[in-house]
Symmetry: C2
Subunit: 239 residues, 2 copies
């Protein structure tokens, strides 16, 4: 009897672990797609590829569905498995990270919408160098936050928070430059505004990458590091 019960318990626990792994894998798959959306949206903008921009907008629905599926699975696990401690934190962190990825998807779709508008207006405006640069940086941040999640790597998560700080500064400086450019050439106003909205979206992508990194730190350490500065976060992780 003892052996049977043990086997049964072991079976349940194996199944439970498989379910937790499945949620995590789904999150990483969703992350891969979202990262591609961000890079495709930037590509579409810079190469004036309206077809690519349109495909980004269409795929956004798929990302929304992925988030809802992950959320449903998380709720199902909470209801049936009643996880505790680190298992519970994994479920919560996955659900929150999925929500951030969904918002990154929204930002990518917005960038794609501006790419289409810019294609229609023809002629490339200023600010593409900054867009490319900030775009590459936030895409790398998303990638790193997901790798951190995959490996439970809090050091890598910390570098994402650090990168967010410097992206914010680059964003501000790019925006100042664009305002100056608008003033010098008022005919460019509506095109430059499109680029400003794009940069704003990319800056938001960086914020979400930082959020995902924070969810991972919560998952591994059990500490809520939201709203801490990079320095405070670093100190918290050393303790």
């Amino acid at each position: 009897m003892k052996i049977n019960t043990d086997l049964h318990t072991q079976h349940i626990s194996q199944q439970f672990n498989a379910e937790l792994n499945e949620v995590k894998n789904r999150l990483l798959a969703m992350g891969g797609l979202v990262e591609k959306q961000v890079s495709d949206a930037i590509e579409a903008l810079i190469e004036a590829d309206s077809e690519l921009a349109r495909s980004v907008r269409e795929k956004d629905e798929l990302i929304n569905d992925m988030e809802m599926a992950i959320d449903e699975e998380c709720t199902r696990i909470l209801a049936r498995r009643q996880p505790a401690a680190s298992d519970l934190r994994l479920v919560i962190a996955c659900s929150k990270a999925a929500s951030d990825l969904e918002r990154v998807g929204d930002e990518a779709a917005k960038v794609a919408r501006h790419a289409i508008e810019l294609c229609e207006q023809g002629e490339s405006p200023r600010g593409y160098v900054e867009t490319r640069h900030i775009g590459d940086r936030v895409r790398a941040m998303i990638k790193d936050s997901l790798t951190a999640f995959a490996r439970f790597d809090t050091d890598l998560a910390l570098t994402v928070a650090k990168a967010d700080k410097s992206v914010d500064m680059e964003y501000k400086s790019a925006m100042r430059e664009l305002v100056t450019f608008m003033m010098e050439d008022p005919r460019s106003i509506s095109r430059v505004l499109n680029i400003m909205w794009v940069l704003r979206s990319l800056e938001r992508v960086g914020d979400h990458a930082r959020n995902i990194a924070e969810h991972l730190i919560y998952l591994v350490k059990g500490t809520d590091v939201r709203h801490l500065s990079y320095k405070e976060m670093k100190r918290e992780l050393k303790d």
Copy 2:
């Protein structure tokens, strides 16, 4: 023995209900404060009251703390009480709504920051009528979404989703007008940009109010209505 066990179970369940109520009440208290932040930020902007703007920015930290406290309480309930069905949905909905309220608080702080910049630049630019109007609308949406939450009122939640649609249209039309104004008077560019960012923030506040309404619908009906259009949502609620 039977009676004692029953009393014990009853006691546990009363305590559990008290905890659930406490989380909901905290959410509503947070909501009240956030609503005040939005209206103060708009007031500060329109009345050029930089002191009020600064107090909005300072209070944002309090709102962040409230969100973290609600989240912690939700996690504690999940771990200890292992809620199911509608109790589980209440915990999930409160945690998600708190996250939306925290972001509304961020947007209010951003509006306050622009209010300070505009005070420094002196002279009020165009767009205050639109700001006042859209500001009043999204503040009412936040209020309604919280009342819907307090009363489990899905009909009221539905009106929030409807309002979001018309706010989005008003936002777009206000933005078009501001672009025209910029082109006519390039010296106003940086002041008008401030107003544009403010309108963008207010439009986001409307989105968050809609999200909160969606969380409430999920809580009451058990259906995930995110990413549905207003029409689809209405149909879903009638079924």
